[in-house]
Amino acid sequence: MLSVEHLKKSYPHSGGSLEVLRDISFTVEAGEFVTIVGPSGAGKTTLLRCLAGLLPRSGGSVTLTTSGRVVDSPPPEIACVFQDYSRSLMPWSKVGRNVEIPLKNKIRERGKRHEQVERALREVDLDGFADSYPWQLSGGMQQRVAIARALAYRPEFLIMDEPFASVDAQTRADLEDLILRVRHDAGLTIVLVTHDIDEAVYLGDRVVVMSGRPTTVVDTVTVDLPRPRSQIATKALPRFAELRTEVLKLITRDGAEVTA
């Protein structure tokens, strides 16, 4: 379980400081899929970098309750998929190497490492692309490489920063379903931020709604939609529309505009 308590983050800013996260608290249970929606510039990336131990906090705490460990540096239980896939992959390494390099310390034996790389690439339907360079692939495929890299790492927690924001609508739907599938297969705990309300409701067990900057948690909405979910059937449910509206209301009440 991941527990975030009264997390604060300010950046130094032209002499003074820029308050981005004012007071963020929520928990993520083991096996849960928590989505976080917030307007652009609310500090979603900032929040995730704090969760992953990449950014020092200005206050509050992030704790992995299973190990009782406070997250001050990147813990081995967490893997990330970043917002900008094209810059998170190493253009000088082939797809296979991109997935393999993070495993160097986890799996000492080369043969086993390669097996795991192959399995991860298969999970995202990229078998056969290990010897391509990332830049030879389409945007959606590159993001799948980033997902495969995170999966191969076998983390307990997968943290994703608007992973589908820069691909077309069809690819986006495919990637959403891909994530739901691998999450089911691997029993992952996922935290995903997005500014897309539909996506947040479609994917999540719970939606944490954030205000605009300085950011607080407005409310948390439990998504009681049946699983497995389907782009067509789930989104056609009246309950889906209700939840969507509920989240939208929470966000607009706060006065921030969001792409719905």
Binding site: P74, I78, A79, F82, S88, P91, R149
Partner: protein
């Protein structure tokens, strides 16, 4: 000079220009015009040499500028001699040692300065001051210390190489994308693994640009040192021929120095194309 430019795009720019200038990659595919474009520079070069020859023969040029054919004859006579071989070797040796020592030192210091911000803060006034001092300025002191030995060429060659390498490497290291650095940390890579798999490859285009700037600096410095002092090499031969008014031989050696420069640049370009095939500017052209 080039060393002074702070440009994250410098490698990209220089390489793109070259990739685009390559004949045959013309997207319109007009073969005849691209063949003409290839031949034209040769034509103008030959035409200029002919004009030179005629002006010199007609005594329009002073006697210090001999006809091209005489220079060519001098070159052919000079090349097989033992003295020429020794001088050429001495120049190449000073060039290689200077570039290696200065280049490696520049990369190491550049990585250190880029990785430890405090180090940069403490030293950057000094570095910015030192980088603009031409290496040849240290020549008198070195002659006093080392005499007219190849050591002078090594040291000053290295001094010519170190600055472009240091600053290019530094810009490269500080320019590694934040997302890539985060990636390395999130996936638990140790510092030396991050250096090997992320920082160094990301910096390599900058190092390539630094290397090319450094190489041309070193050739200039090494030749100048030999001309001014009597450190053995093509430069000191050039100075000797000039002071004895043996002009065809002097120009013949100038041709050799020029050819060395062209060869070196060609070699470095080839190396770059091979090592940086993944870089944006080589993706279509080089594969």
């Amino acid at each position: 000079m080039n060393t002074g430019t702070r440009a994250a795009e410098l490698p990209a720019e220089t390489m793109t220009l070259e990739a685009e200038a390559r004949p045959g990659t013309d997207p319109t595919g007009r073969d005849r015009s691209s063949a003409a474009a290839r031949l034209l520079p040769w034509g103008t070069s030959i035409a200029l040499l002919v004009v030179w020859e005629l002006l010199s023969r007609a005594k329009v040029f002073p006697s210090e500028i001999p006809p091209v054919t005489e220079i060519a004859r001098a070159l052919i006579k000079l090349v097989p001699t033992h003295e020429f071989g020794a001088s050429l070797l001495a120049t190449i040796e000073q060039f290689v040692v200077g570039l290696l020592v200065g280049g490696v030192a520049g990369i190491v210091l550049g990585v250190l300065l880029g990785a430890v911000p405090l180090l940069y803060q403490l030293t950057h006034y000094l570095l910015d001051f030192l980088r603009f001092i031409p290496a040849v300025v240290y020549l008198p002191v070195l002659i006093l210390l080392l005499g007219s030995t190849p050591g002078v060429g090594y040291v000053l060659g290295a001094a010519g190489a170190i600055w472009p390498m240091l600053f290019q490497t530094y810009y490269g290291v500080t320019g590694v994308s934040a997302i890539l650095r985060d990636t390395g940390r999130v996936f638990g890579l140790r510092p030396h693994q991050r250096l090997l798999h992320i920082t160094l490859p990301a910096v390599s285009p900058f190092v390539a640009t630094g290397l090319r700037i450094a190489a041309s600096h070193v050739l200039v410095v090494v030749t100048a040192v030999q001309i001014i002092s009597s450190v053995a090499g093509l430069g000191s031969d050039i100075a000797a021929y000039a002071s004895n008014a043996v002009y065809p031989q002097m120009y013949a050696l100038l041709v050799v120095v020029g050819a060395l420069g062209v060869l070196m640049n060609f070699g470095l370009e080839r190396l770059e194309r091979r090592q940086l095939h993944w870089h944006t500017s080589y993706r279509e052209a080089g594969r």
